[in-house]
């Protein structure tokens, strides 16, 4: 397949059918080396199916996949791919070090790489404790450690931060950023929209097995043309006057909410300033990833 050194992961016209039910239809998506792509979609939108197809655990009905220029599931593709499944429960009777040593041997890495990796994810102190005694965060760190074994070109993370505390989440993304800086292509399937907003370079959205969006957050906002929200707090007793002048909807006795297109923001701000003392506070919120997600997955689209 394509071998221009640009794309670590490419799918073309990927389709997966179970009987007559089409789980993925004609999905073409790519992740370049060093790129972090968020894969979004409702439960059952086809995210996991896409990930499993890329891993070679499932066979596509139609279309092609290239993992670092190799067929998915082939030895070369598997050596180049790391995977962190959602909710992985390592065997409770073994220690973190024993698990990682087994994975290192399967990946063909020397066992001397194991301890530094456990240190890297902050598990050095628990290396010889059984996984049964680990917290949810520690188990996820162990899962993350095995994705760092060897030189992986493509990393697939399925809900890497679900159920983690804020510090652990931050640590997960620190590792992700480090991998991306080393030129690894990263695909993150997740629902944690606010985290992904700041942590990914591109957003791909699946809706009922179809790719409905695939671009940077900025470009998606522009093409979706979602309004900016303006939240006004009026002086006591002045709310009616402000609403009469500016429109919008009342939230309560003093607060007011307005929507305006991105390019009219400044004009609208000028009119708010004209109101003088009647307005005592203004808050502006640009469309968030959550708004975009709703827009692309929502019923109003088609």
């Amino acid at each position: 397949m394509r071998d221009d050194g640009k794309c670590a992961l490419v799918t073309e016209g990927l389709t997966k059918r179970y009987g007559r039910r089409e789980v993925l239809s004609d999905v073409s998506v790519s992740v370049a080396p060093g790129e972090r792509v968020a894969l979004l979609g409702h439960n059952g939108a086809g995210k996991s199916t896409l990930v499993r197809l890329v891993l070679g655990l499932l066979r596509a009905t139609a279309g092609q996949i290239s993992v670092n220029c190799h067929r998915p599931g082939s030895g070369a593709a598997r050596r180049a791919t790391a995977y962190l499944p959602e909710q992985v429960a390592f065997h409770p009777a073994l220690t973190g070090r024993e698990h990682l040593t087994t994975f290192a041997r399967l990946a063909g890495e020397p066992s001397s790489t194991v301890m530094p990796l456990l240190e890297r994810v902050g598990l050095a102190g628990a290396a010889d404790a059984r996984v049964g005694t680990y917290s949810k965060g520690m188990r996820q760190r162990l899962g993350l450690a095995q994705t760092l074994l060897g030189r992986r070109r493509v990393v697939l993370l399925d809900e890497p931060t679900s159920g983690l505390d804020p510090v652990s989440r931050h640590d997960v993304y620190a590792v992700v950023d480090e991998m991306a800086a080393n030129g690894t292509a990263i695909l993150i399937a997740s629902h944690a929209l606010t985290e992904l907003e700041a942590r990914t370079d591109r957003i791909a959205i699946l809706r009922q097995g179809r790719l409905v969006a695939d671009d940077s957050l900025k470009a998606l906002s522009r093409s979706a043309d979602l309004p900016t929200r303006i939240h006004l707090t009026a002086q006591a007793g002045a709310a009616d006057r402000v609403q009469a002048a500016l429109g919008g909807t009342r939230v309560n006795g003093t607060a007011l909410e307005l929507h305006c297109p991105a390019d009219e923001k400044m004009a609208r701000l000028a009119r708010i300033a004209e109101m003088g003392d009647a307005v005592c506070d203004v808050e502006m919120t640009p469309p968030s990833l959550e708004d975009l997600y709703r827009h692309y997955c929502g019923e109003e689209l088609r």
């Binding site: 655990l57 962190l84 073994l94 399967l106």
Partner: protein, 274 residues
Amino acid sequence: MIRHILAIAAMEFRIQRRNRWLFSATLMMLLFALALTFAGSAPTGTLGVDLLTVSVASMTTLAVYLAPFLALMISFDAIAGEAERGTLGLVLTYPLSRGEMLLGKFCAHLSVLGIAITLGLGAAGAAAAMSGGAGPDSLMALGRLIATAILLGASFMALGYVASALSSTVAGAAGLAVGLWLVMVVLYDLGLLGAVVFDGGGAFTQHVFPWLLAANPADAFRLWNVSGSQEVALITGMAGAGAALPVWAAPASLFVWPVVALALAAAAFRRTEP
């Protein structure tokens, strides 16, 4: 590759040791074998054989039930358990084939069972030999018993993998394993017995029945151990059925079963979608 098989085998063996399966399987074998040896020592004088011969005969009856049971208990979790924990999908994204994974587990599990059988039956045999005497013939019989019990266990271990690969949950795999044990070890014999009684010594009893007996690994195990030793045959009174068969039938069955069952397990595992 051998490296992958060894990596999986080392991990599995450690799990079995941590889970105390190695310990409890050995203990179970030993206790049952000792109990049967000394509880069943009464006929020594009347039959004029040493205590080890009697012990081997009793332990043959025990191993027919216990070896398949322990093998299934160790193996039923192998694939369904990993699928349920979510590690199967992860391990299979590493560069190892499903066949390597299965063989690695088989090596580790069979070592556990082999140790349990050798230590359990061996120790009980040694105790019988020391307290009631043994001869070259009865020592041979003990060796044969241990080797064939491991072969019998290997067959059922692989059948346990089939059950594990076919069911998507651990509970389902456990149910299937128990059902397998019940049908192949208990009900099969009852069915044959019923058929023989119904037939009343006709063509079925003379020509078909012995082959059906040899086709089941549990019965092949019994046949081989009984026909291998005149004295053991004397005690168990099972010489009649074995006499109608060529000498190679029972050993062939015991050697072919593990291979066929492993091939079946590999085929079932290949169809599993993690």
